[in-house]
């Protein structure tokens, strides 16, 4: 009996020793930002790593004070430097929540930034609220983030994904005014279901005379689309909306192109921009693509945007996709808020509450467009949207877009306080388009 207890004690000590190096006391000179992105698995290369790259690059530029105007000469976050701690997001949502809790409790990070998978953020939001940790979501697009509760510590610097469905519906109805039929191809998980819901509701508002044909729901990352393609070739909808993501688009297009589905059906990929540089000539001209806002190839031509793109390409030898822009503008929001909070109370490092007060409702020029935190009490951005037609420029060997159209923020985002689905069902009342 005694012996046994001793065993338990030995075991507990062993566990304690194994765990000891975990609890390193963090020297509090530098700010520490945890950055959530897929670091393993299928999405790591196409959307995860670009986000980490961009966040790293912007933090370094801010630390060294090398950002161009209008942020030139202002070094650091307030006066502090920051460092980035990448955290893998390619886990089941509940495990991401546990991981975020561990990151905050053990590493005492100053903020959580990033998160790109639709929905993973929903899982860890209760954790950051409970632990009172400033969180800036860069992408994670589900409208439920601010619709299901009052968030004190959470900000999101990109529009929610509903805006993409509306953008696509507006673009499609404008480009094809005599549209006769449309269908869908949306993978069987929350982002796919929500995207189709938003798009089809918006279409119902703009073209009440049309009934959608079949919405195909292949399994998440099944990569076997031969049967779906056959069925679409039989049904021949004039247009089809797809929220396929990254590698899924690549596999689908590879399988669709030889069978010329794009000749009978106008294809719309709401996140097609992620894959265009990888696919180049293999992505057929004429496909409609989006980038979850005016990012990447749709970025507004500003000096700040050019600086971002040139530096990114020079350093990482690839074109920045929208997750990189999203990540960069989330870090920039932190800088602006820290600067503002530090200016309000000079001589001391701003605490979380001061940074949150400073961040509410800011409007700032970012790398793709102007970000306005104008929704949900100044926590949620409503930014403009963009869409265009893909074209591979044979002369330069570069993928481009033509017929780009921009949509004002109030044209595609629900008014403050209105739930996305309610707004769509009501027929988008009060939408202000230019």
């Amino acid at each position: 009996m005694l012996k046994l207890k001793k065993d338990v004690v030995v075991l507990a000590l062993a566990m304690g020793c194994a765990a000891a190096p975990l609890s390193d006391a963090w020297a509090a000179e530098k700010l520490k930002f945890a950055f959530l992105a897929a670091l393993t698995g299928p999405q790591s290369g196409i959307v995860g790593q670009p986000g980490v790259n961009a966040a790293q690059m912007i933090i370094e530029a801010i630390d060294q004070g090398t950002l161009p105007a209008p942020y030139a000469g202002k070094k650091g976050f307030g006066s502090q430097e920051a460092e980035l701690m990448p955290v893998d997001e390619a886990l089941p949502p509940a495990q991401v929540a546990t991981e975020v809790r561990d990151t905050i409790e053990r590493n005492h990070v100053d903020a959580i930034v990033g998160s790109m998978n639709s929905g993973t953020c929903l899982a860890f939001l209760p954790v950051v609220e409970e632990l009172k940790t400033l969180t800036v979501l860069s992408t994670c697009g589900t409208p439920r983030v601010f619709e299901e509760g009052n968030m004190q510590y959470v900000f999101r610097t990109s529009s929610n994904a509903t805006a993409d469905g509306i953008t696509a519906a507006r673009y499609l109805t404008r480009r094809m005014p005599d549209l006769k039929s449309f269908g869908g191809l949306n993978p069987n998980y929350a982002f796919g279901q929500d995207s189709w819901r938003d798009f089809s509701l918006a279409m119902k508002a703009f073209r009440p005379d049309l009934q959608p044909t079949t919405n195909y729901t292949p399994n998440y990352q099944s990569f076997q689309y031969s049967a779906e393609i056959s069925s679409m070739l039989t049904e021949k909808p004039q247009a089809a909306f797809s929220s396929f993501f990254a590698t899924e688009i690549e596999a689908f297009v590879a399988q669709m192109a030889p069978r010329k589905l794009n000749e009978s059906t106008k294809l719309i990929f709401s996140t097609g921009e992620t894959i265009m540089y990888k696919m180049g000539e293999r992505l057929p001209d004429g496909v409609i693509i989006g980038a979850r806002g005016p990012y990447g190839v749709f970025a507004r031509p500003t000096a700040l945007g050019k600086w971002f793109k040139d530096n990114y390409v020079a350093r990482f030898k690839s074109q920045p996709v929208y997750t990189a822009y999203h990540a960069a503008q989330a870090i920039l929001a932190l800088k602006i808020a820290y600067d503002k909070a530090a200016a309000a109370a000079p001589g001391q490092a701003p605490n979380t509450d001061a940074v949150i007060t400073a961040m509410k409702g800011i409007e700032y020029e970012a790398f793709g467009t102007t970000v306005r935190l104008s929704r949900s009490g100044g926590h949620q951005a409503a930014n403009e949207g963009a869409m265009g037609v893909y074209k591979f420029d044979k002369a330069t060997g570069m993928p481009t877009v033509t017929d780009v159209e921009y949509y004002a923020a109030d044209c595609i985002n629900p008014p403050d306080g209105t739930k996305a689905v309610d707004w769509l069902t009501a027929g988008l009342p009060g939408a202000k388009c230019n």
């Binding site: 975990l22 893998d88 053990r106 069987n188």
Partner: protein, 315 residues
């Protein structure tokens, strides 16, 4: 000293000690302990099956049912009491275990494992299709209350930790008692030779059915605790990878004692946390390496090392 009685007391002492220790532990250790106990309770159920030679690759079904029972209770009825939540989760999981047990009890070996897997994947599919429950995104689970009172001042995790210690002790005691009953002793006999058990006048299928209900209820309790700890529930909890992870923890701990599942789960959670922090880009390598080493070098699980010393000290 006769062992049966002392093991019962040891359960009370160990989990009581853990609970007391919890008052002084840093927050992140509380979190790891909570995850380990939720997982440990589920694995305890797997050990009940393992003793009869059955492995379930679909335990995620009952784990998920427990979690979703808790989630739906707060979503639809606003019930947040921790005790009610756990009871409802256990009942829901046990009910489904009872129902599916009518089919599963006839199966053995790999086919038992795969049919369990099929059921859990169909449940996963139903959850993914259900947009009201948030599909793959899942939904939030409100914080627990204890006898009508919400924990104050951010003490939520600590209260849950104490609650988890209590639950773990109760479950461990119950399973310990079961192991010492006639039906419990029958497990080894079933694993070794079913025909002989039948000749003894016992119904093997009925005994297996009871084990299924027991292990489903335990998985439901673990799922409830997990949902309350995380504050969120989503279908990934029912996916085959979760079930595979649970089997792994069962093998890692071993089937030698009711403590083994908790030990296995604690080691697993620590390794998982460490691996994610040390190699965020390649943490599967560490996890897989530890798994491989444990299978190669500790064939009877972590507990065997302790059990061997225990034998020596009593021998």
């Amino acid at each position: 000293m006769p062992m049966p009685r002392s093991t019962g007391w040891l359960i009370v002492i160990v989990f009581g000690g853990v609970a007391l220790g919890g008052l002084g532990l840093p927050a992140w250790m509380i979190s790891v302990g909570l995850s380990a106990m939720s997982q440990g309770i589920v694995v305890l159920g797997l050990v009940v099956l393992m003793r009869a030679g059955l492995i379930s690759f679909g335990q995620g079904l009952y784990f998920g049912l427990g979690g979703y029972a808790v989630g739906v209770l707060s979503l639809e009825f606003g019930i947040t009491d921790a005790f009610l939540r756990v009871i409802a989760a256990a009942l829901a999981a046990a009910a489904v275990g009872l129902l599916l047990g009518c089919l599963l009890r006839r199966y053995r070996g790999i086919f038992f494992a795969m049919l369990s897997l099929a059921f859990s994947m169909i449940f996963y599919g139903l959850l993914v299709k259900n947009q009201n429950l948030g599909s793959t995104d899942g939904f939030r689970v409100l914080a627990s209350t204890f006898a009508g009172r919400p924990p104050t001042g951010g003490a939520n995790q600590l209260w849950l930790f104490l609650f988890a210690c209590l639950l773990s002790a109760v479950c461990a005691l119950a399973v310990h008692r079961y192991f010492r009953s006639t039906l419990g002793w029958l497990a080894t006999a079933i694993r070794d030779n079913e025909t002989r058990v039948e000749y003894l006048g016992c119904s093997v299928n009925a005994a297996v059915h009871l084990k299924l209900v027991l292990c489903s209820a335990l998985a439901g309790i673990g799922g409830a605790l997990s949902a309350m700890t995380v504050g969120h529930i989503d279908p990934a909890i029912t996916y085959w990878t979760t079930s595979g992870e649970l089997v792994f923890v069962a093998i890692l701990g071993g089937a030698g004692s009711v403590f083994a599942p908790f030990l296995g789960a604690l080691v697993f959670q620590v390794v998982h946390t460490l691996a994610l922090a040390m190699l965020p880009h390649a943490w599967h390598v560490i996890l897989g390496g530890v798994l491989l080493a444990s299978i190669l070098f500790m064939p009877d699980g972590l507990w065997s090392a302790i059990a061997r010393r225990r034998e020596r000290s009593h021998g």
